[in-house]
């Protein structure tokens, strides 16, 4: 193994032991699912940024910036910041007061329908699993590049590490290791990206050369036409909007906060850190064609890490990609396993299960999902577009439940039937649009998440207006005062 491989393996071993050490206090279901609601702001920020920035960011987004220009990729994080602040400073506190263990828990409490509960659980399972596959696809690119391992070996090695400490430590392991990873890829991202500009002679010479050779980097639509660029901008911003407000592995972080204010503070920290990391990382890659225009987009980050920075820094960067993938995947694993065990198996098949049994089941479900992800990730052809596609497809599913989630908090008139029809039609529509896009039936510029969100919202509002609230719906936000929120 070369220097890169040795340092990366050492780093991953450290990461594994950090996760196991952090998880040694995990004894109860509340610990495993929500860290016993004890997380301070910096841990919440760390886990959110780390979970948000997966290998998709490092491998695919940099590749897109390299090929098409930086602006659509950077602009989506503006929406991430705005949506995070809306959650942290306003809406999040209503979810916090419900004392949820999982996001499908919200649907169970707010709407009195087993069908709504089931659909919400399926949304979590399907979206988390496909998202995990997208993240693992990106990770294997780096692992193959770094170690020369085969696809299967990379998958087994990384999945084994993730499964071990998610099984043992649950949310606590995930959050603590996420925060370590946040620091690592903060360093990697702020040094790797700018290395491109430094190699070009600084920002002045870089701009001069770009003006002559690749002027598209200064246009908001990049190399695409105005219409296609506009739809891309819309799709990526909608992606962020839906992700931040509706992705279960992100909004579940509300439940781990030690107080409402602590969660709000965490969102403010995120609003400072995320723009700095993203601009530092992604913007620079749009200038990379000036140094090497022959690289495949999916290999841009590994190429820069190996060729433009000292070996140690490059290794941190590459290890950071694997770390970013692991941090996102552990969050996804934890959510998917929690939903499978608590919201599906316990809720529908074994309601009398004790907390001890549920904890054991949750751990078993992590392993089960790991096996599924392994087979799903064993795909022959990988490109930045495939990874991006899987990511967009997975996250579009959240658009199906977003209206039920937030209208359920903000509007007393949101009914169970509205939620049922909204998710029941929204989810298959989004899946159909996503598959249709892949098959070439649906235009490539059409964003499934945007149309899915519009359809789900219209159905939610329309059906709620013509139906009545069920007797045992739990109304959360009256709109009258904070004190009126249901405990």
């Amino acid at each position: 193994m070369d220097t890169y491989s040795v340092i990366t393996v050492a780093f991953l071993v450290f990461y594994l032991f950090a996760g196991i050490w952090a998880g040694r206090q995990t004894k109860t279901v509340e610990d495993h699912y929500v860290m016993s609601r004890s997380a301070p702001a910096f841990l919440i920020t760390g886990t959110l940024v780390a979970s948000n920035l997966s290998s998709v960011t490092f491998i695919s987004f940099t590749g897109v910036a390299f090929k098409l220009g930086p602006h659509s990729m950077i602009s989506m994080f503006g929406m991430s910041v705005a949506a995070s602040l809306v959650l942290g400073l306003w809406l999040g506190k209503y979810f916090y007061r419900m004392e949820l263990l999982t996001i499908p828990d919200f649907f169970k409490k707010r709407y009195s329908s087993r069908a709504v509960e089931l659909i919400s659980s399926l949304i979590v399972l399907i979206s988390m699993s496909v998202y995990m596959i997208a993240v693992m696809l990106g990770t294997t690119v780096v692992a193959e590049n770094l170690f020369g391992w085969s696809r299967s070996a990379s998958l087994i090695g990384i999945l084994a590490a993730i499964t071990i400490f998610t099984v043992i430590g649950g949310m606590r392991s995930v959050v603590v290791t996420d925060t370590i990873m946040f620091v690592v890829f903060l360093i990697g991202g702020l040094i790797i990206g700018p290395a491109i500009i430094i190699k070009l002679g600084g920002i002045g010479p870089a701009i001069e050369q770009a003006t002559a050779s690749i002027p598209h980097v200064f246009d908001w639509h990049g190399t695409q036409s105005t219409f296609v660029g506009g739809m891309k901008l819309l799709e990526t911003n909608m992606l962020s909007f839906v992700m931040v407000l509706a992705a279960p592995h992100l909004i579940s972080r509300i439940n781990i906060a030690k107080s409402e204010r602590e969660f709000g503070k965490a969102m403010v920290y995120l609003a400072v850190a995320l723009p700095i990391v993203i601009v530092g990382l992604i913007y620079s890659f749009s200038y990379l064609p000036l140094l090497n225009s022959e690289i495949k987009p999916v290999e841009t980050f590994p190429w820069v890490a190996r060729n433009l920075v000292p070996a140690f820094i490059g290794t941190i960067g590459l290890a950071g990609v694997i770390a970013a993938a692991i941090s996102t995947t552990t969050s996804l694993f934890q959510q998917a396993a929690a939903t499978l065990s608590s919201d599906i198996i316990k809720s529908f098949f074994k309601p009398d299960m004790s907390d001890d049994q549920l904890l054991k089941l949750s751990r078993f479900c992590v392993v089960l999902i790991a096996v599924f992800v392994f087979f799903g990730s064993s795909i022959d052809n990988i490109g930045a577009a495939s990874i991006m596609y899987a990511f967009l497809f997975a996250t579009s599913a959240f658009a199906a439940w977003l209206p039920s989630l937030y209208l359920g908090v903000m509007w007393k008139g949101a009914t169970t039937k509205g939620a049922l029809w909204s998710m029941g039609i929204g989810l298959p529509l989004i899946i159909a649009l996503g598959l249709g896009k892949k098959a070439g039936i649906v235009p490539s510029w059409l964003p499934p998440n945007f149309f899915g969100l519009i359809v789900s919202t219209v159905i939610m509002v329309g059906v709620s207006l013509v139906t009545q609230n069920e007797a045992n719906e739990e109304i959360i936000y009256t709109g009258d005062s904070v004190a009126d929120s249901v405990q």
């Binding site: 705005a82 107080s259 204010r261 723009p275």
Partner: protein
């Protein structure tokens, strides 16, 4: 609540604001086409500056549930 903790929103707004201004001076305003990048960077940084200030005001007014 400790004074530093109460002013955390203000400090975050200042940090974000400073980085935003420096980026504009040393990068954006040197581009041959300024507006597109200026708008994108503004969209990324300005919500954070505003949100941080809102958090600061919420702390001053005691708008949380009392646990800090």
């Amino acid at each position: 609540m400790k004074e530093m903790n109460r002013n955390v929103g203000l400090y975050c707004a200042l940090i974000s604001g400073l980085v935003y201004v420096l980026l504009n001076i040393f990068l954006v305003f040197r581009l041959p086409k300024v507006l597109d990048t200026f708008l994108v960077f503004s969209w990324v940084f300005v919500p954070g500056i505003i949100g941080s200030l809102i958090f600061y005001v919420m702390d001053k007014k005691g708008s949380w549930d009392g646990k800090s």
